[in-house]
């Protein structure tokens, strides 16, 4: 059995950033659905690079080398899976925007070496960015839903770039290895292994000490990265006061998943041909999910926050400005509309692809409510309901509906509906959302129709796929058919 890995010791510079959400223009127009290139195809060199790593020469003793090997293996495994399993995309619009800002930062900060740094776009819906060490910086697709201008994006990138410039990742590995190879640690681990009783408690205490220690350092390092990040982007001419608003959105970012005011679920379904009884009859049953409980699990570990308070950070970065109200999810913003549209489309595609249909339907409803391109989300809604119908037949509906949302939220309403609605209603919804785009775009329409026919109407898959591939030999959807 391999030596135990220590999660907090192998995770580096993981930093959450949250930014503002906005409404978009109401005059949405029909666009073709475009897919970004997936990482397994377009980042082959990076994948090869991640598979190979060398233990630095300054780790002379075998124990340190083994720990370095272990830690790096763990980190690279995580990172490698991101690339190999297509959780990263090469999206020209979003990546170009990030690189444009990055180049401006490089040009304005000649004293720093940026050569090893590369930016990537991750497909996660969580508004987040992270520095994985060795120059790999990931910006999550979900972040773009909250960003309203270049200044805000620059602050996020500046912060992550600073982690790399300050070598936080490698210094943390060094510190962890020093701790793990110390006489004291090795002896205690031996004692625990030999002990007949109380192993769990002793091991937990040992790990807790390491976690607490690393938590303290993380907070310090985050502040350090904030400071350098501000210097970098100020030199590049970005407006710090405007940029700092992104930090105020930090406390609001969960609204996308927890708010009950994003859209009226009942009204959306009222327009559809399904039976409305589900929304009229109040459920008699109340499971434990209806009781609001804040879990106290692992409270000691939870208390180790890696980031200082966001309002304090805002005050500190903006030069003592009083926090201004931010209206995430309600402000209609035009300057970043293209980026938000792009990100939303890719997020929905990813959620559909990874069978997170509850979240996918939720984002589609949110997008429609906020005047994102309606045709795109009608297609995805039809695809989701067809797939859910199919999942139901295969006893996989619960996991696809993904009912892990907060009580009372729009997301919870959607997830409950997806799980509790009859299959007849799923079929009607798949047909209804498809009917809203009659032949708007032949490839998208044909694919959605084909999925409806094979997943709901149970038509022969092989002939349907062959026929689709024959008509669209280079279709962007072909990889989904192959996967299936």
């Amino acid at each position: 059995m391999p030596l135990p890995t220590i999660p907090s010791a192998v995770k580096f510079c993981f930093f959450l950033f949250f930014a503002g959400f906005a409404y978009l223009h109401s005059n949405a127009q029909q666009n073709d659905i475009k897919f970004s290139a997936l990482s397994a195809d377009c980042y082959k060199d990076k994948i090869e690079q991640l598979k190979k790593y060398v233990v630095p020469k300054f780790y002379t003793d075998k124990s340190s080398q083994a720990w370095y090997d272990e830690i790096l293996k763990g980190r690279n495994k995580d990172l490698l899976s991101e690339f190999e399993e297509n959780r990263v995309v090469k999206d020209s619009l979003l990546l170009d925007k990030c690189n444009e800002i990055f180049k401006r930062i490089i040009a304005a900060n000649k004293n720093f070496k940026f050569d090893t740094i590369h930016l990537y776009i991750n497909r996660s819906v969580i508004a987040n960015a992270a520095c994985y060490g060795e120059g790999t910086i990931m910006v999550n697709m979900g972040l773009f839903l909250w960003i309203d201008n270049d200044d805000e994006l620059a602050l996020v990138l500046g912060h992550e770039i600073s982690h790399q410039l300050l070598n936080h990742g490698d210094s943390k590995i060094q510190k962890s290895i020093a701790m793990l190879t110390s006489e004291e640690f090795i002896q205690e681990l031996k004692n625990i292994k030999k002990a007949d009783y109380g192993k769990f408690e002793r091991y937990r205490k040992l790990m807790k000490d390491i976690n607490v220690e690393s938590g303290k350092h993380s907070r310090y390092k985050e502040s350090e990265a904030d400071s350098l990040g501000v210097v970098l982007i100020r030199n590049a001419g970005y407006n710090i006061a405007t940029a700092a608003k992104v930090l105020l959105k930090l406390g609001k970012v969960e609204e996308l998943f927890t708010s009950d005011k994003l859209y009226a679920t009942k009204d959306i379904f009222a327009k559809t041909p399904i039976e409305q009884g589900y929304f009229i009859t109040k459920p008699k049953y109340n499971g434990l999910s209806s009781v609001k409980v804040t879990m106290n699990a692992d409270k000691d570990i939870d208390s180790i926050k890696t980031h200082p308070d966001c309002v304090k950070r805002y005050a500190s970065i903006s030069g003592g400005n009083t926090p201004v109200p931010v209206n995430c999810c309600t402000v209609l913003n035009s300057s970043y509309k293209n980026y938000k549209e792009r990100a939303m489309q890719e997020l929905v595609r990813n959620l559909y692809e990874s069978n997170k249909l509850g979240l996918c339907v939720h984002l589609c409803f949110f997008a429609l409510q906020n005047q994102y391109d309606a045709a795109t989300y009608n297609y995805f809604l039809s695809l989701c309901f067809s797939k859910l119908f199919y999942k139901d037949k295969n006893l996989e509906r619960f996991n696809a509906a993904n009912a892990y949302a907060d009580p009372g939220s729009n997301l919870k309403e959607v997830q409950d509906f997806l799980f509790n609605s009859s299959t007849a209603d799923l079929e009607k919804l798949a047909a209804y959302f498809l009917s809203l785009n009659p032949g708007n775009n032949s490839e998208d329409f044909d694919f959605t129709t084909m999925m409806y026919n094979t997943e709901v109407k149970m038509k022969d898959e092989t002939s349907a796929y062959d026929s689709f591939k024959h008509k669209y030999p280079t279709s962007k959807y072909n990889y989904l058919i192959q996967k299936k």
């Binding site: 059995m1 109380g198 769990f200 408690e201 091991y203 434990l288 879990m295 509906r397």
Partner: protein, 513 residues
């Protein structure tokens, strides 16, 4: 599911759960092997509202450290706790009431009987109380247990009392039988204790029927001795406030004996008692059911007002071809449940069964010179008997399934005892009935081989207006994969997929519609 299989499932389930729970410290299980001691459903008013997983995380001298995980009905962890306990502590049942969960434990290694105690936790997992039970008072009683199982009632265990707390029922060790009860408040403290037993030389068997905010309702069978086949039947009500007896009403009324099947509040707010009906002149233990009865019940005075006695021969003859008072052309009738629909109509869910002779059993009987049993039980179709809101039998819908046969331990087993034995052994296809999320429809879950379909589980959802729909959980055979279907939250079944090669299990709630 046999115990060996369950054990395998449970062990792997904890690995899955612990990965979730210790998501920030995944390696903990490398240091100490984690064994799931038990996993139980958390119920409230007999419906599943969540799940409790209980497992050992640390060995201590003469003790162990345990971890409790509380999951909501969607299998999402909401609370947990760790505490020290005896070396082999098992969690038996979990009941929810007013933001508190009562867990009933027992220590199987106690030599002098079982050590029983309950712990009360809030939903975050914080312990709010602990009430022990004297181990000398515990003993199993098969007859009472079989009768309770037949009626889906609680022979020994716990239930919630709405708004007031929990009731714990323990079977008495006394030769005179009876039960010991403990009422525990939502503050986690013992409110009262009560014992019910027979007079010297007599025997009482009791089980818990239901609870209301006013009363703890028990079914009591009083017999002249432990071996006696006949019994006097009573409905006993205890005050939830102090445990004092509110009433003890005979269930032998006007020449008929009533064995309560379920007690529940109907759509008009009235408490209804549905019972299986027997001829009072036949001996209770061996008697054949001749119908069922619906009565209104006053839970404070115990007054029973018969609404209607449905006699299989006279009242259901229009929809059921009866050969005699207890047997139809399709066989004997085993009534499992009476579903009360929102429009006031009712649906009796049942199965037909027969006592037949097995060719193999006959051969064994000849070879053993008469000492073996040739008798077998043959379980046949299920049925839904619809009764309209004027209490008239309207139709009988059969749900065809293949016959299943079970050898009987003796040729001379009476039909009454045979029905109890089959129920206690879970040999009937019927598994349980559940009320839908909004109370509009009822779902019966059954297993068996249905018509041309292969062996599987089927959910039959009854709608007052639209007849019934069936959803089959047809599970393809896969290498190294085993599926288990058990009860989930209302309107669902819990499908557990166990991969014996990868030692993983995935839990999936499946909608029955």
């Amino acid at each position: 599911m046999n115990m060996k299989k369950l054990h395998l499932v449970i062990i792997t389930m904890v690995l899955l759960i612990s990965t979730n729970v210790f998501s920030q410290s995944k390696t903990l299980e490398n240091v100490v092997e984690v064994d799931l001691q038990s996993s139980v459903e958390i119920t409230n008013n007999k419906q599943i509202v969540g799940y409790a997983f209980f497992y050992k995380i640390d060995k201590l001298k003469k003790a162990a450290m345990y971890r409790l995980e509380i999951l909501d009905e969607n299998l999402k962890p909401i609370g947990n706790n760790e505490f020290e306990g005896p070396k082999d502590l098992l969690l038996r049942r979990a009941v929810y009431e007013s933001n508190q969960v009562l867990l009933s434990f027992y220590d199987k290694d106690k030599k002098d009987g079982y050590e029983r105690f309950v712990k009360i936790f809030d939903l975050k997992g914080k312990e709010t109380g602990m009430v022990p039970y004297d181990p000398d008072k515990v003993k199993k009683g098969m007859f009472g247990a079989a009768i309770a199982a037949q009626m889906e009632n609680i022979y020994e265990g716990t239930d919630n009392v709405e708004g007031k707390g929990f009731i714990c029922v323990y079977q008495s060790k006394a030769k005179t039988g009876g039960v010991n009860l403990q009422m525990i408040g939502t503050d986690g403290k013992l409110k009262w204790e009560q014992s019910i037993t027979a007079d010297k030389g007599d025997r009482s068997d009791l089980y818990l029927l239901s609870t209301t905010p006013n009363a703890i309702l028990l079914f009591e069978m009083d017999k002249g001795s432990i071996m006696s086949k006949d019994a006097d039947l009573f409905l006993v009500g205890l005050s939830t406030t102090d445990g004092k007896q509110l009433f003890k009403k005979p269930l032998d009324i006007n020449g008929l004996s009533f064995e309560p099947m379920l007690i529940k509040t109907d759509n008009t707010g009235k408490l209804k008692m549905v019972s299986t009906m027997y001829d009072q002149s036949s001996k209770f233990a061996t008697s054949k059911p001749i119908g069922f009865s619906i009565a209104e019940l006053n839970d404070v005075t115990g007054d029973i007002k018969i609404v209607k006695n449905f006699n299989y021969l006279n009242d259901l003859g229009t929809v059921l071809d009866m050969k005699n008072e207890s047997k139809s052309e399709d066989g004997y009738i085993k009534a499992h449940n009476l579903c009360m629909m929102p429009d006031g109509s009712m649906v009796l869910v049942g199965e037909f069964f027969r006592k037949t002779v097995s060719a193999g059993g006959m051969a064994m009987k000849i070879l053993s010179k008469g000492s073996a049993s040739a008798a077998q039980a043959t379980i046949e179709d299920m049925f839904l008997l619809r009764i309209d809101n004027t209490l008239k039998a309207k139709s009988l819908e059969k749900i065809e399934k293949d016959k299943e046969r079970y050898p009987l331990p003796t040729d001379g087993l009476s039909i009454g005892l045979m029905a109890r034995l089959l129920t206690y052994d879970h040999s009937f296809g019927y598994m349980y009935t559940d009320e839908g999320l909004n109370g509009q429809n009822q779902t019966i879950v059954a297993r068996g081989s249905f018509g041309d379909e292969k062996y599987g589980t089927v959910a039959i959802t009854i709608d007052p207006k639209k007849g019934f729909t069936q959803k089959r959980f047809n599970i393809e055979k896969e290498k190294n994969i085993k599926y288990y279907i058990t009860r989930g939250k209302p309107g669902t079944v819990l499908v557990m997929k166990y991969n014996s090669k990868e030692k993983t299990i995935s839990l999936n709630l499946e909608n029955v519609k």
